[in-house]
Symmetry: C2
Subunit: 142 residues, 2 copies
């Protein structure tokens, strides 16, 4: 799936438009998500930013992510395991988790064409499609 990295100014604008107070930590977390489209865990974000910001705490990462989720800038992915993952790509798309390498891949799927039965009168806010199996890379490595 294609995506464009956003410039630092645009990330700043994104936060400002959402009425989120700017801070060094928040910008860095957002920048990390933008530069590392791997649906990272909190741990991965923490380790990825630790060298640059040694004082950064996981609490702040959690706080920041929750703020970004509330603002709609980030989506949380709860696909297996009891460990949340975070996605800056808020377009509707599916997620595939490889049982071998643990990586999560995006894929295209047209959720608007779904024919469903049994949700008459229900208000749907979010839709998620999660697949799991073995990714093409790990299939080859067999």
């Amino acid at each position: 799936m294609n995506y464009m990295r956003t410039s630092m100014e645009n990330l700043t604008t994104k936060l400002k438009n959402s009425n989120i107070r700017l801070s060094h930590q928040r910008l860095k977390v957002l920048e990390y998500l933008d530069n590392n489209r791997i649906h990272p865990t909190v741990d991965q974000i923490y380790n990825g930013l630790h060298d640059e910001i040694p004082t950064l705490s996981k609490t702040t990462i959690y706080n920041t992510l929750n703020t970004l989720i509330e603002a709609g800038l980030v989506k949380i992915i709860t696909i297996e395991d009891n460990e949340a993952r975070y996605d800056i790509n808020t377009d509707l798309h599916g997620h595939f988790k490889c049982k071998a390498c643990g990586n999560i891949y995006d894929f295209e799927i047209d959720m608007d064409s779904f024919k469903i039965k049994g949700l008459d009168g229900f208000k749907v806010f979010t839709r998620d499609v999660y697949y799991s199996g073995i990714c093409s890379k790990c299939v080859e490595d067999d």
Copy 2:
């Protein structure tokens, strides 16, 4: 969604066919899942069986569920929150979680008709569709 309750003998057979050693606790957990199609949490199973089996421990419930999952008799649902839910209905169907009451509803969806792009060469083992929003009951209560 319709379903048929299974008789106690059939539950016994189910376990035997999967080469799972019979025990009072395992039968009761399986029976609870069969009689309570609410995609219960471990806590709900524990509370539901506590009166009948006061000595039952959560460890045993976890052990039993993991055994049943391995045998393919039960499916785990990880839809939001850090709390697993368990489903004895292993047919392919979607899950809707109500943000208001917390209940999880089944709905029909034909996953075989999905048109997806980006998973060439991937081996898909599981497919899950998770919706969330407000269920019809909670919409009315507004």
